[in-house]
């Protein structure tokens, strides 16, 4: 079984390969291009599942690009938490793509479809790389690939709102990567290394000699990843970008792209910075309060929105706060909760954006107040929307409850009950803006007055899958929690 050793690199190779192949395929064999993309994504997913079992059996291992060990070569590291992230990225992106095939037909011009596949595969490939890489500069390059292609899957729609939102996103994310690169320069200056393990080994000594460099680097990293992951005061680009994009892109951006940067920051904290440094600077404390403010303000902003997709986008700012809250609480249970929320939110937010996409596809409505009575004409979609909202609020039986439960447990364990109050308050706020939509959709007596196009089955089946996944995550959460707890314990 020689080939299985190369799976970490092959995942990237398959995704990058299909992204470059897509335009050619779309030109010469148009029918084959969509199945080819789906096949590659599934292939990557199968490889990732195999990697999970391998990691469970033999523990963590590394892969050297070109056979060059560090410090010369780029290293991919596979431990439990990274493989978990990889699986989330690949599974959710495959699921979104199945939905996207139909939705995109009416949102995009036919001639750019091939390029959309390219960009999509690039986003997924770079995110898989970010999850696995163990090299600072490699991380920078992958972040830039991810940033360009994430902006491009917004601007591919070419209406004026999309272009403007995507430009704003590009400028702010360029600022983020600029800050990141400066931080890397600060670290390279004092350690002379790029590989995480080598930097980690060299840092304790370097911090003693040049403490200011490390302060600057950690501040720059928080700004960099905070901007890219829409941590509260740096979130200004998100609502426009996620709301104006085509619905599958919104699902992708809100579900996965912002989370991968939260994950990268987590890896910085726990695999790059030595523990004493983390304890000497109140990085976790800063993160905690920013996350809490994000949770509250994201929900409050979401309440006043009139546009359905914009409301979902603002809700993402609140929800990414939970992931950061888990990282900031710096406790095994809380981090487990944060990462469980990462999975649950990836599924529920993608599903809610898909529901919004179906509504726009079928009726062309974007305004919340026009949605009254829509439950009678689009019952399946609104059922999925209900389950997604229930999970957002954290109603028992859905995945959202479990993650909030573990976050609250973690907060109690380290003796900070104030964060339990914040979690509870934000659940209430979530209910305030999700419930009226559902109540209006189902309870309103008057007839729904807009024209309704029939929805193709290919768009509804992914919704069913999402509902099933959310309920499954709410009822049988144990194996995931155990896996995550093991993964997180390895980092302490």
């Amino acid at each position: 079984m020689e080939l299985t050793n190369h799976f970490p690199a092959l995942i990237m190779a398959v995704l990058l390969g299909i992204s470059f192949l897509s335009p050619i395929l779309y030109r010469w064999a148009r029918k084959a291009s969509a199945p080819a993309l789906i096949t590659s994504l599934s292939l990557a997913l199968v490889m990732a599942i195999y990697l999970l079992f391998q990691v469970l059996q033999v523990g963590e291992f590394t892969y050297y690009m070109g056979g060059w060990p560090p410090p010369y070569g780029i290293e991919f590291r596979l431990d439990l938490i990274r493989v978990y992230m990889l699986l989330v990225v690949l599974a959710v992106s495959l699921w979104i793509m199945v939905y996207a095939l139909k939705d995109l037909e009416h949102e995009l011009k036919t001639e750019v479809m091939g390029w959309y596949y390219t960009l999509y595969a690039l986003v997924v490939g770079s995110m898989a790389g970010i999850a696995l890489t163990n090299d600072l500069f490699n991380l920078f390059v992958l972040m830039e690939i991810c940033a360009i292609s994430a902006c491009a899957i917004i601007s591919v729609k070419e209406d004026r709102a999309c272009l403007e939102a995507s430009f704003k996103y590009l400028i702010l994310s360029a600022m983020g990567t600029g800050c990141f690169l400066l931080g890397v320069a600060m670290i390279y200056m004092v350690t002379g290394q790029m590989n995480y393990d080598l930097v980690n080994a060299a840092l304790p000594e370097a911090v003693e000699l040049y403490p200011n460099n490390m302060f600057a680097a950690s501040a720059l990293f928080i700004v960099a990843f905070g901007t890219k992951a829409a941590l509260f005061p740096l979130h200004v680009w998100l609502p426009d970008a996620h709301a104006s994009a085509p619905s599958p892109s919104s699902a992708m951006l809100s579900g996965l792209v912002i989370k991968i940067y939260a994950f990268a920051l987590f890896i910085m904290f726990y695999q790059l910075f030595p523990r004493p440094l983390l304890e000497s600077i109140p990085l976790n404390e800063i993160l905690l309060w920013l996350a809490s403010m994000g949770i509250m303000f994201g929900s409050i902003f979401a309440m006043v929105q009139v546009d359905l997709k914009k409301m979902l986008a603002y809700s993402s700012i609140g929800q990414i706060g939970y992931v950061f809250l888990g990282i900031g609480l710096d406790d095994t249970i809380a981090i487990t909760g944060g990462f469980y929320h990462l999975l649950v939110h990836a599924i529920m937010k993608s599903m809610l954006f898909m529901c919004a996409g179906v509504i726009i596809y079928s009726t062309g409505i974007r305004q919340i107040k026009q949605l009254g009575g829509i439950g009678q004409v689009l019952p399946i979609t609104m059922f999925a929307f209900t389950i997604g909202s229930a999970s957002m609020i954290g109603i028992p039986g859905t995945g959202g409850l479990i993650s909030k439960w573990y976050l609250a447990l973690g907060a109690l364990e380290i003796g900070r009950p104030i964060f339990v109050v914040i979690i509870l308050a934000s659940s209430l706020l979530n209910a305030v803006y999700y419930m009226p939509i559902i109540v209006n959709a189902f309870m309103q007596q008057e007839q729904f007055e807009y024209q309704v196009k029939p929805v193709p089955r290919q768009m509804l089946i992914p919704l069913f899958v999402g509902v099933a996944a959310l309920v499954f995550l709410g009822v049988f959460s144990r194996p995931f929690i155990v896996l995550l707890e093991n993964a997180v314990q390895l980092l302490f």
């Binding site: 080939l3 190369h6 690199a9 190779a13 390969g17 335009p23 892969y63 690009m65 070109g66 056979g67």
Partner: protein, 147 residues
């Protein structure tokens, strides 16, 4: 643009720029430069011709379609070169251990996979610059007609 001096000069200069671009691409493993710089030089020469004459003459050299196919092809070539390593049992992007002949240091045909990758990169960058140019120019024309 109907300028005799610009046309004749660019027609005279373009082949030399292209040869220089190819030189930089091929010597990427020996001297500063390589796929990116050489590809940019080569692509610039094509853009120069298209600018100083008109788009039809430019399209005779390399059409928009060919350029976009080459663009994907160059990047694919990079991935496939990397996969050769996996196919023969070494790591992804492996060079000597994948059996690429390394040759003598300082020779033109040396450095194994790096030489091949640089060549693919040159094709990719040159065609990307041409497609970028065409995309912006053609977009201008479309909107010009619309107004």
């Amino acid at each position: 643009m109907e300028d005799q001096i610009v046309r004749i000069t660019s027609r005279l200069v373009a082949p030399f720029i292209q040869v220089y671009g190819i030189y930089v691409i091929l010597h990427g493993h020996l001297s500063p430069g390589g796929g990116f710089s050489g590809g940019a030089i080569f692509g610039a020469s094509l853009v120069l011709v298209a600018l100083s004459f008109n788009l039809e003459v430019g399209a005779k050299q390399i059409s928009h379609d060919t350029a976009s196919v080459l663009e994907s092809g160059g990047a694919l070539g990079f991935v496939i070169t990397g996969l050769v390593g996996v196919a023969v049992g070494a790591n992804f992007l492996a060079n000597r251990s994948a059996g690429f002949p390394l040759g003598e240091v300082g020779e033109l045909f040396s450095a194994g996979a790096i030489f091949i990758i640089t060549a693919f990169l040159g094709v990719k960058v040159a065609s990307t610059i041409v497609t970028l140019f065409y995309n912006i120019i053609e977009g201008e024309e479309k909107s010009g007609n619309a107004h």
